[in-house]
Symmetry: C2
Subunit: 330 residues, 2 copies
């Protein structure tokens, strides 16, 4: 049985802890959160859907009752902010899988730090990987998988349209619902709004197609989606002319290849889906109607990768380095 | 540059040789075929679409002008028949990727021989893998990839419908077009007709979901598809009541999971597509309209895996052991 600790008990961490509880191949070996209100709590006190369990929340990794084999870390979207946690876990020789979006391709945002952490992970003999549904699957790993059916690729376009009405309140707020267009643009300028991990997806996909983009070759745009009618949402009624979502695009066009990632998350977005088109000697189109479910899929990615880490190659790695981590739950 | 030899110059081998010629990361290092009519021929003499090249066909692996890094072998569908070729290539320390359908999961049909060959490959320090579009991707690897977005899987169904009118003549013949139903059933009983590799796909998918099926748990059926109207094909007109294709089903139902693979290859088949449904805490449906192109995709799989073999884990392996082999052509 693989001993798993959960670091960071937000919605993703709690759902991951529950999935670990229910898998006979795992032992939930520890819970860590810095929030004093959660200290000493059992999982079932944080989430009534969890099973009863003896493990109580501690405030620091060094206080874990047993040393886990793998830590699932969901504390931050930023690689430089997760680095101290990675280092603490490496001192205990613990493998890490994280939903940290920048960690899906840490060399994009933090090339030097990523190299240093990679060296430290190799010395410690552990594997560190960032993953999730997006980044980590829909807009990067899955298009790479589809490209394996072509001998040459000229163009990849990935369109992901999420109907935010089907998602939880924090996501409805995060995409700007009820904001004015001006406020959205202000926040966008300050990088206070927008999907995390899009440039990382562009780079991962390009690398999976044998390209090595420079940072300056990645283009990211962010636009508000504007309501053309009143929409009731969990954060209130969006009036016509107000923001009801966002459209985030990322692209790379060099070395004989065009990559276009187009992510729309909006209230009542029409035709929600994931759609991948890979164009080479043939065109292969792949559609996931309704789009891959968001939060549950990220939890699944974390748990399925956690299971694979002990036999994975060592170092700071990406999903491109690992064999497919299917759902081998028991 | 990776030196590649092509063993077996049927349509797949020739197309693979052309793809190798056109990729700057590869050097076409040799061509082997046992057909005396092909001996001494250049690729362009076998296929006018090929580029001019100095490499001439030899009759035996031991006569190759240089030792390749990787051999692409398309000579047989049967693992016991490819074994002597694998052994000859292992003596030269050559990695192998093959379209041999049984080799996609050689432990299904030949568990003892697979173990022995695996030992020999480890001793020789080479990697041997079977792959293609099916088996190797649509009905096994891709559903495993989709399962990574779920924490538990109860059921996987894969439906592949190929309109054989869009495919080359040998395929139209292979599926039984113009046969009587009685003749089809006779051939089916003698295992002279039907898709190769379906049980291998069932086992690969089950293994990718953490199950370890026994041979007796895999169920395979084969039925004729019967024309309800006259259909003109490359092998002649199919009259109503005659066979216009085949439907091959494979299933596994044990250990809390149901797997159903349903492959129809028929003239004028309606709704041609690949469709994958993975059911767990959510249902994820994936559709490839028109279905993944057949022959070109198998060639792509061979070439893309060939590129990855030098850094792959050693031994007799399957696609589940390798990181994704995207199209990294240059």
């Amino acid at each position: 049985m693989l001993k798993i600790a959960i670091i960071g008990l937000g919605p993703i961490g709690i759902a991951a802890a529950r999935a670990v509880q229910r898998d006979e191949g795992f032992q939930l070996a520890g819970l860590v959160d810095s929030d004093p209100a959660k200290l000493g709590k059992r999982l079932v006190e944080l989430d009534p859907h969890a099973d009863a369990d003896d493990v109580a929340v501690v405030g620091d990794i060094d206080q874990l009752p047993v040393t886990p084999d793998v830590a699932i870390v969901s504390t931050t979207s930023y690689f430089d902010r997760i680095a101290p946690t990675l280092r603490q876990l490496m001192r205990h020789k613990v493998h890490v899988v994280s939903s940290c979006e920048e960690m899906a391709w840490p060399w994009y945002g933090h090339p030097h730090l990523a190299d240093v952490i990679n060296g430290e992970a190799n010395s410690a003999g552990v594997t560190l990987v960032g993953t999730g549904v997006n980044p980590g699957f829909v807009m990067d790993l899955l298009p790479v998988a589809m490209s394996s059916m072509l001998t040459r690729v000229e163009r990849v376009t990935v369109t992901r349209v999420v109907d935010a009405l089907t998602r939880r309140m924090p996501l409805q707020r995060k995409i700007g619902s009820t904001m004015s267009v001006d406020d959205f643009k202000k926040l966008a300028k300050q990088k206070q709004i927008g999907h995390m991990g899009l440039p990382e997806s562009v780079v991962m996909l390009a690398q999976g197609l044998g390209r090595h983009p420079m940072r300056s070759e990645i283009r990211i745009t962010l636009d508000p989606v504007i309501a053309d009618r009143a929409i009731e949402s969990l954060v209130g009624v969006v009036e016509p002319g107000q923001v009801c979502g966002m459209r985030n695009r990322g692209s790379y066009s060099a070395a004989g290849i065009d990559i276009e990632l187009d992510l729309t998350m909006a209230l009542a977005a029409s035709e929600p889906r994931d759609e991948i088109e890979v164009v080479g000697e043939k065109t292969i189109r792949t559609i996931i109607p309704g789009s891959t479910p968001g939060d549950t899929a990220t939890v699944a990615a974390l748990v399925n990768v956690a299971r694979a880490l002990p036999s994975a190659p060592r170092g700071l790695r990406t999903m491109l380095d690992l064999p497919l981590c299917g759902c081998r739950s028991s």
